[in-house]
Symmetry: C2
Subunit: 235 residues, 2 copies
DNA sequence: ACCGTTCTGTACGGTCGCCCACATAGGCAG
DNA sequence: CTGCCTATGTGGGCGACCGTACAGAACGGT
């Protein structure tokens, strides 16, 4: 990817950084494909690269002995994978796994670490994003504990919709069940209900968003809460 | 409290900071009582003070519309309340409420914010603690979702034991139920089971730790995981 | 000694997770 | 067309936990 083309990239963190930093980032990042299932960083393992997604999305999951990993956060072009490097700890607190294929700009962890010490403006944005991420973790945790499957499914579809930049994506019930930490047939029932109300359509893993407004109403308040957290801090 | 006395305080973050910073902190902090039920900071409200507990402990809870607030973290003399100020955001991401009475050193948020910009060593420790806190949030979230009441209760008692510096404290089943996000009678059953095994004893809200080793075995792996996270990063 | 409050034990019906099995249905390859 | 594979709908049996309710037990004040 030429720098010229990269300058038009849509990662919001990169876009929000002062132009000096943006130029440095674009010169030092390399474009990579994000392929469904790729693990960008593993819990308790060193962070090799940080990633700024352009298209596609990554989910942050906490693996727990003997259980399906539980999703705690979703990263698209509004964020990045690996911010925690900014805290001076080399290992990742959780697994980052690609859920929607696409492309990202990536940077080696060591370059990233060395650079931001000299750039207060970028530091500030990274700090803000860290805060948003923490808020997202907490909201997810409470939501997982208290809310029912259907609103949570609606929320997940909305968040994915925002990050996929498309009305249509590939997701099986099985997969959604893992993300939400529920059983597959629970997703089948919730998805049927949403389809019955013509909010979504799906066949064999192909899901379409038919009525976004309706989905927002069907979703729990956590969706709005997370949007607000992001826009209050980084908006 | 005289500075001389304060120098002997047992807050581990303060103890870990370079002596120049420690002296500044002790000169600028004021001692306050932590009284059970006090709210030190409220979700989405400005952080007035940061607190370094000396004795007693504070729990970090996420309130969700129409539900009991869910506990996501516990802070004792190994940590502090209000670290997120370091990220440059004035508002707290969650509620901090005193669960074990005691004392703390507190500092106004604005002094805290103004000071640490000039002290890289202290910054580093704050960053590390932020990382530990994030790890704790995630572990809590996954634990809440997947683990059963009895091991979770054991874990909570252990964490409290560590922070209370006493084998005995006041806690009703009702209160524990709120902390764990379960119903009261669920706690009664789990607590009976632990008492039957002579790991704990309790009568009318007075709980004693009788067999710590046994409790550690009864607890889920999350207890060890959180200890490891702390000692790997700040140990 | 008495009563009210607080704390704890226990029970019931319902929800929803688990694992499992099986039927249907669409897509794909031979 | 036929058979295979994957995705989905459905149901059963089991257990954990929910909301709720009620009863006994311990304590505190009068």
């Amino acid at each position: 990817m030429s720098i010229k083309k990269a300058l038009r990239v849509t990662n919001k963190l990169i876009a929000g950084v002062p132009s000096k930093d943006r130029i440095w980032l674009l010169a030092n990042c390399e474009p990579v494909d994000l392929v469904f299932g790729d693990i960008l960083s593993e819990a308790d393992r060193p962070i090799e690269h940080v990633y700024f997604p352009l298209v596609g999305f990554i989910s942050l999951v906490a693996p727990l002995n003997g259980h399906q990993p539980l999703e705690m956060g979703l990263v698209g072009n509004e964020g990045m994978v690996g911010v925690t490097l900014k805290l001076g700890i080399k290992t990742a607190p959780m697994r980052a796994v690609v859920q929607g294929s696409g492309t990202a700009l990536r940077l080696t962890g060591s370059k990233f670490t060395r650079y931001f010490g000299d750039t207060p403006a970028m530091c500030r944005i990274l700090d803000q994003y860290l805060y948003v991420l923490m808020a997202q973790l907490m909201q997810s945790a409470a939501c997982t504990r208290f809310h029912e499957i259907e609103p949570r499914l609606a929320r997940w579809l909305l968040m994915t919709h925002d990050r996929a930049h498309a009305d249509h994506f590939h997701l099986t019930h099985e997969f959604l069940a893992d993300m939400l930490g529920v059983r597959r047939s629970g997703v089948s029932i919730a998805a049927s209900a949403l389809q019955l109300r013509k909010l979504i359509g799906y066949t064999r893993g192909e899901i379409s968003i038919l009525n976004r407004k309706g989905l927002e109403e069907a979703s729990c308040e956590c969706y709005d809460a997370m949007l607000d957290d992001y826009s209050n801090v980084l908006g």
